[in-house]
Structure formats: structure tokens, C-alpha cells
């Protein structure tokens, strides 16, 4: 390090460079968050109250939204955890078509949520492609076509979990794959030489070492899963399968000028924020229990 300016100068130039960022966030993040919180906890006259929340919690739609969001998040995380690790391990073996297969596996990731919604909606129609496929495979016949759209409640949540998995799995696989490829091959080889079977090596050596990567991927999924709404709305429409952010969108887009629409939207936004941040915090805490294992 040459001619290191004294500490004050370093501080000053850093602050100078960071000034725009800090201003940006003060204006476009701190203030909006602040006013959203204010609005959420204010009643019609402007005084502090939690009336918004008590009103919300009395609506069965909102209660269902909580349940659906919870089930969806838990379900999709579990399925995606196992599938993504399995597929990443599979793709990591350099077999003949692994590059082409990786290419193909990434396609769903490129779909914008709106496009995904249409893709699956067209499948879920009674005469849509899912039934067409089942029909071609002779698993159903013309008289007992499955009425996908009629599913309600947790059944619908289950199918949305599958749809979501199809869409997001590549983005998780790609992160875990990067972690696997950065892993020193000799760790695994040492396992083999010293007596571990292939699967044992994966369980005892590979997965524990790439744990930080898996945690990262899962947190990103957690945050997104809690905010699910678009595929639910595109396939089932509003109100059929409520989710937290779906309720927010409903208040903004559909019943925009209803009496409590804005308040409800604010209140729900604050709830979503709290849930996301809390979940992320706990997930990180739990997964970093053994932080003293420096892995390099």
C-alpha cells in the first residue's frame, strides 16, 4: 500500500462516494418504510391505533391467507430442498449430455412470472394441455377429465407448490451447482479412499461442506415463497386461494377505492415485511450454529 493517506482522508473519500447511495436509500427506502408503518398503525383520523390489524384478523380471507402462505412456504421449501440438491448432484457428474441438460433445466428460470402464469393456466383449463397430456397417455379419458381449477384451499396450494417448484428449481440448482463445482475434489476422493461408499461420501462430506451455499439458496427461496401471489392470481383468480401478498394486490388492484383498501394494503405490507425479516433472521441463526468451521 503506497502513500496511505491518513485515516480521516480515507473515511472522507469513502463517505463522499457513498453519499448518493445513502441519500437514495434515505429517500426511497427509509421514508417510504416509515410512512407505511405510520399509515398501518393509524386509524382514519390519524391517531395511533391497531384497529387496522384487528379488522384484518377478523376477516376469514386474511386468516386463510396466513395459513395458505405458511403451508405453501413450508411445502415448497421442503420439496425444493431435496429436489435441488438431488438435481445439482446429478448435473455435477460430467456425463455425456450434462451440458445440454443444464441448458434445458435453466429454461423455466428465464420465464417472467406473468409468462409462467399463462403457461400453467393454459394447462389447468379443463381442455388444457395437462389433461391433453394425461389423455394422450391414456391416464384419463374424455369423460373424467380433471377439473384443476376447481381445487380449493389446500389442494390448490399443493398444485401451486408444484407450479412454483417447476419455475424456481433451476435458480436454486444453479447456486448449489456453483457451490459443488467450487468444492475441492480431493475432499470427496479422500472419502472414497478411506472407505466411504458414494452416497455416504455425499451425506457425510460433500453436503456439510457446501452448507453455506445451500443456506443461501434456501433463504432466497424463503423470502420469495412468502411473497407468492402472481401465479395464484393468474391461475385461480383473486379470492379463490388467498395469500398474503395476493391480498395486498387485491386491495390495490381490484377494490382500490373501497373504504379500507389502502389501510389494509399498508397493514398487510408491514405484516409481510415483519414475517420475511423474522423468518430470514431465524433461518440464518439456526444454520450458522457452527460458524467456527471456516471452510477454505
Amino acid at each position: 500500500m503506497l502513500n496511505r493517506k491518513n485515516l480521516n482522508m480515507e473515511n472522507r473519500s469513502a463517505y463522499f462516494l457513498l453519499f448518493p447511495v445513502i441519500i437514495f436509500y434515505a429517500v426511497f427506502w427509509l421514508r417510504p418504510v416509515y410512512s407505511a408503518v405510520l399509515e398501518a398503525f393509524a386509524d382514519a383520523s390519524g391517531g395511533f391505533s391497531i384497529a387496522n390489524y384487528s379488522r384484518l384478523l377478523m376477516q376469514s380471507d386474511i386468516r386463510n391467507a396466513f395459513i395458505n402462505t405458511l403451508v405453501f412456504t413450508a411445502g415448497s421449501m421442503v420439496i425444493q430442498f431435496f429436489l435441488s440438491i438431488g438435481i445439482a448432484l446429478f448435473l455435477n457428474k460430467k456425463f455425456k449430455f450434462s451440458n445440454i441438460l443444464l441448458f434445458i433445466t435453466l429454461i423455466p428460470m428465464a420465464f417472467p412470472p406473468a409468462a409462467v402464469g399463462i403457461l400453467w393456466k393454459s394447462g389447468f383449463y379443463r381442455l388444457g394441455w395437462m389433461n391433453s397430456l394425461l389423455f394422450k397417455l391414456h391416464l384419463v379419458d374424455a369423460s373424467n377429465l380433471i377439473d384443476w381449477m376447481s381445487f380449493k384451499g389446500l389442494n390448490a396450494v399443493f398444485f401451486l407448490t408444484l407450479v412454483d417448484t417447476w419455475t424456481v428449481l433451476p435458480s436454486i440448482v444453479i447456486i448449489i451447482l456453483a457451490g459443488l463445482q467450487n468444492l475441492n475434489k480431493e475432499f470427496e476422493e479422500a472419502g472414497w479412499v478411506f472407505g466411504a461408499k458414494r452416497f455416504q461420501t455425499i451425506k457425510d462430506i460433500v453436503l456439510p461442506i457446501i452448507r453455506p451455499t445451500i443456506v443461501t439458496a434456501m433463504i432466497l427461496r424463503l423470502i420469495s415463497a412468502i411473497q407468492v401471489w402472481l401465479i395464484a392470481v393468474m391461475i385461480y383468480g383473486y379470492n379463490t386461494v388467498p395469500f398474503l401478498v395476493e391480498r395486498i394486490a387485491y386491495n390495490i388492484d381490484v377494490i382500490t377505492f373501497a373504504e379500507f383498501a389502502k389501510k389494509d394494503a399498508y397493514a398487510l405490507s408491514v405484516i409481510v415485511v415483519v414475517i420475511v425479516m423474522t423468518a430470514a433472521y431465524f433461518y440464518i441463526r439456526i444454520s450458522n450454529r457452527s460458524k467456527n468451521q471456516e471452510v477454505r
Binding site: 479422500a190 472414497w192 479412499v193 478411506f194 466411504a196 467456527n292 468451521q293 471452510v295 477454505r296
Partner: protein, 362 residues
Amino acid sequence: MAYLELEKLKKTYPNGFTALKGIDLKIDKGEFVVLLGPSGCGKTTTLRMIAGLEKVTEGEIILDNKKINDLQPKDRNVSMIFQSYAVWPHMTVYENIAYPLKLRKYSRKEIKDTVDRVAGICEIEGNLNRYPGQLSGGQKQRVAVARAIAIQSKLFLMDEPLSNLDAKLRVSVRTFLKQIHLEHNSTTIFVTHDQAEAMALADRIVVMNKGNIEQIGDVTDVYHDCESLFVANFMGTPPANFQEAEVICEDENLYAIADEFRLKLDGPSKDTIKGNYIGKKIIVAIRPENVKLNGDHPFAKARIEIVEPQGFHTILGFRVCNTIWKLLRMDDKQLEKGENVALSADPLKVMFFDKETGKRIR
């Protein structure tokens, strides 16, 4: 029957590259064999095929009278020390050493006793509850060694275990590894590109180049009695001095000549050269420690151009026929740059090589 036999062992990769061109090697039980050569010579490939980490393209590997080509690494009962140590970062030192024992279904008490014992041998008792991330390179090395000796394996395989250590540590760990070998009488195969290391450790050295074995022998063989130009060049620091020269016959005497170079030929290979190489060019090789100043029958006169004092010996550099020749000298006598001297050599210590094949002329 030797303990480990490699028969016509060949390795070709799917992209067509042949790393190993068909080698034969016999290793006895308890031997310390070093596979020595530059990068890409096939030494690590050989080691990995013995371990089972690479598939055999052609040939056989026979260990203790059993063909092991198709066995998984875990079924071959070998120990390995990897170049990067491969000490698992998410397990403590204790767990690292215990893992192979756990896989072999040792009881908890057996595991504890074994781990304590080898930790003592490798002097890492204090680190048993630490994680590898908290250890230095040398300490991680010792963990790798402890893990390797904890199991009763048939073979010890070591893949350039010293190359990531600093110079001083390298020498002390080298000695430590030799001690382990002597105490356990384990059959060891050691891979390195460092010829000094190889000479210090090996019972026999296998010098390899471009997928082939150049020479197998003990230190004396590969250092003083080289089979090929490559071996003569690879062994020894500073490297041997080489001179291309034409063989002529004058008054019943043979000389190898080139510009200001004129060496009288003598020794066991004289007849072969007389019979086959008169009028042809050969390559003369003389090691720096065998070049003498101002002795009998000098082969060249030169001026001292470089003086490199090394403490207990000095290396002198001369220009002979446009090449720098090095001479190793133990004398106390101070020599100055610019001094003119005559160079000579003991004819029995001179090696001759065929210019086309690179093979030794005996």
C-alpha cells in the same frame, strides 16, 4: 511375486490424450518407492489408478496377488495423503482421523485408542478438538498423516504431500515421513517432482517422462549411472553439464571434440564408442562435482565468469563452447572472476549418450 505389480498399465483420456503409455513396475512389500518426474509425466495418474480414483484403460494392477482393477477405492484398503491434504473442514481433527475407523466399524473405545495413539505419533494431541481452519499447513499435513496411518492399510500412497509446505518445513516433514515408514514398515508409493526429495526418501526411484518410465533404480543408479539423457538432466542440482561432440580417432586415441572442447575418451564405454560412433556426434555429460580444476588431460581452457558461494561449497561458472559449464568445488581456496583455468574430469565419471535416442552408451 512382488507385492504390487503394474503390468502394461495404460491410461488414455476420452479426449484422446494418453497420460500413461504402458508401464511395468514391480514393488516389494515394505519398499519406499518414489515416482519422480516433471509435470505431466504420468506419475500422479499412476498413483491415482492404484488408488482407484482413475479408471485403467489397459493393463493390470495386482496387489497382494489380487487383481484390483475393478475394485472401488474403498475396497482396496489403501491409505492416501493428498496434495491439498484433503482434511475435511467441517470435522474436528479427532473426527477426521476417526472417520475411516468408523467406516470400518471399530468400536468407540477402539477408535479413541487408535486416534490417541496416532495423534501422539504425529504430535497433534493438542489439536484433536480443533477444526482444520484453525490449523497451519504443517499441522493439517500431520492430521492427514495421522488419518492415513490409523487404518491397517496395505499401501501408503502420497501425492506430492510436501509441495505446499515452506522450504524449512518440507525438510523436517520429509524426515518425519521416513520415520513413519521405518517404524511401520509400510509399503509406500510417493509422488514428487523434486529430485532431492526423491533421493532422500526412496529405496528405489522411478524416473518418469511423458507417460513412460525412463529408469528404475536406487539413488546410485539414477544419479551416477543414468539410463538416458533425460535422467541425467533431471537429477542433480546444479544439473549436469552437457556437450555435443564429434568422435575422432587420433593415434589410437579417441577424442570427443567441439570448438575449444577436446576430451580424451577412456573408461568402460570406450570400446562401444570406438566400434559405433567414430565420425558421429555424441553427447558428453559431466556432473559439476566431477569437473576438476587444472588436473590431468584437461578438456578445455576457460575463464571463470561467475562465482556463486554457497557456504560450504562454491559453484563456478565457465563459458565452454558458448554454454555455461558449472563446477562444484569444496576447496577453501578463493577463486576470482576472470582467472584462467583448465578443466578436466575423471574419465570414469563421464557419461556418454547417443545423440538421436538419448540413451546411454555403455
